[in-house]
Symmetry: C2
């Protein structure tokens, strides 16, 4: 039986999604929870291998298991085994053997959250990037437009990126400022693509923040992209503000 | 010199605002920070004495201090002294001796946040009330209408409440569901009043949740209010979802 899990997690305490020898990963905690409850060793295959400290609102992973479950048995058993780790299973669906969390996915969506005020966050520490300098969000939004479409994103690619090609397609990106939000001074940068290079979103954000602070011009973004040189782009923004929000599959799920 | 502080805090690690002998309070931490930086012992007077575990987005407090400050000196000195406690000073304003954080305040606003889905929160643990049973938010909203206006709120008053009178005036209350929010399945109950009785908001929420689950009828809310008997209302909801959002003063600040 193949199962698809929809997963929410706070990335702060973990060294990213992927299992590692000397650090605790989200993958390891969930695989352990499955073993604890059902005494089967499984391997999770994930849609978006989030980096250390990056959060997920709807991460998708699949695994195969011999055992059968009553409705909701898997969901509630896993959530009680995962507690008190900040990882929860939002949904567990039986899927066909043709479904693959990573290879079936056609689109990944991320949001990067920025708190733009003098005081640091008390309530959302580790959940948002704090920028104390005034940001020109309209300029950052204008600068981001040139990223849409299919481009060689070498300028925003981390050195140790393992992707075969630096060419990715951005379907949409830009800033929104949540309306009627309880928490003011928050700006969200959304970016949707077929897939992403290692540190791509954080390198884009690091560059946009320099534009927002007036250290670079709006037109620089296009020039940086076209240069295809990482050295021309800004610093890598911290993981705190980054959320994997949605994975899209061909059936629209 | 009298100073007015606008304060944000995560209430989870504290035994409420008020200084206590055997537990750590928000008041104690801020008074200590002032002493650490400026070697003066001050007493903070607060607008809303939040209870253990209750959060604040814009709490207001004032204190008197002999020393004078350069612009922003107080703000940055306090925030660095407060770190890593989840308490930040958003603003520090010099005010006249006529200003009193508690007695000058004419309105207090709170929001109670509810996450209504099967899975518990991974990202907002301690920051929201998780209700796994389906809630009829429209029914809860209808039930809350009767609270608006001036009433005897004895039915929602905790036993050890020290207020002289159980009569309070609710200026507005109801549910909103944030639009375009990154975090789905969240409902917010806002309530504005001249002031509140001890546990009043949490007792109202506890009762509304029973109505939302269909355990009580919408019309019961009015009957409970009129009975003036605490025993007729629902259980006290946990502090996790409660936020003091705003204090209003006569000058509109």
């Amino acid at each position: 039986m193949r199962w698809k899990l929809t997963i929410e997690y706070d990335g702060a305490p973990f060294k990213g999604w992927q299992r590692q020898k000397h650090a605790v990963s989200v993958q390891e905690i969930i695989e352990q929870a499955i073993f604890t409850r059902f005494a089967e060793t499984v391997t999770l295959h994930v849609a978006g291998r989030t980096d250390s400290g990056v959060h997920a609102l709807q991460q998708i992973a699949h695994f195969d298991i011999a055992r059968t479950f009553r409705p909701n048995e898997l969901l509630s058993a896993l959530n009680s085994a995962l507690y008190p780790h900040p990882i929860v299973i939002l949904q567990a669906d039986k899927v066909s053997e043709n479904f693959h969390a990573r290879f079936s996915a056609i689109e990944r969506r991320y949001v990067y959250r920025i708190l733009n005020r003098i005081a640091p966050p008390a309530i959302e520490a580790n959940k948002i990037l704090h920028v104390k300098y005034p940001l020109d969000i309209a300029a950052m939004n204008d600068a981001a437009i040139c990223l849409c479409g299919t481009h060689d994103f070498s300028a925003f690619r981390a050195k140790n990126c393992q992707a075969k090609s630096p060419i990715k397609t951005i379907y949409a990106c830009g800033f929104t400022t949540p309306k009627e939000s309880l928490f003011p001074d928050i700006h969200e940068f959304y970016i949707h693509a077929n897939s992403f290079l290692y540190h791509q979103v954080r390198n884009i954000i690091g560059t946009l923040i320099e534009i927002g602070r007036g250290k670079r011009a709006v037109a620089d973004m296009q020039a940086i992209l076209e240069s295809k040189k990482r050295v021309n782009a800004g610093a890598t923004a911290p993981p705190d503000g980054l959320y994997l929000t949605k994975i899209i599959y061909p059936d629209g799920s």
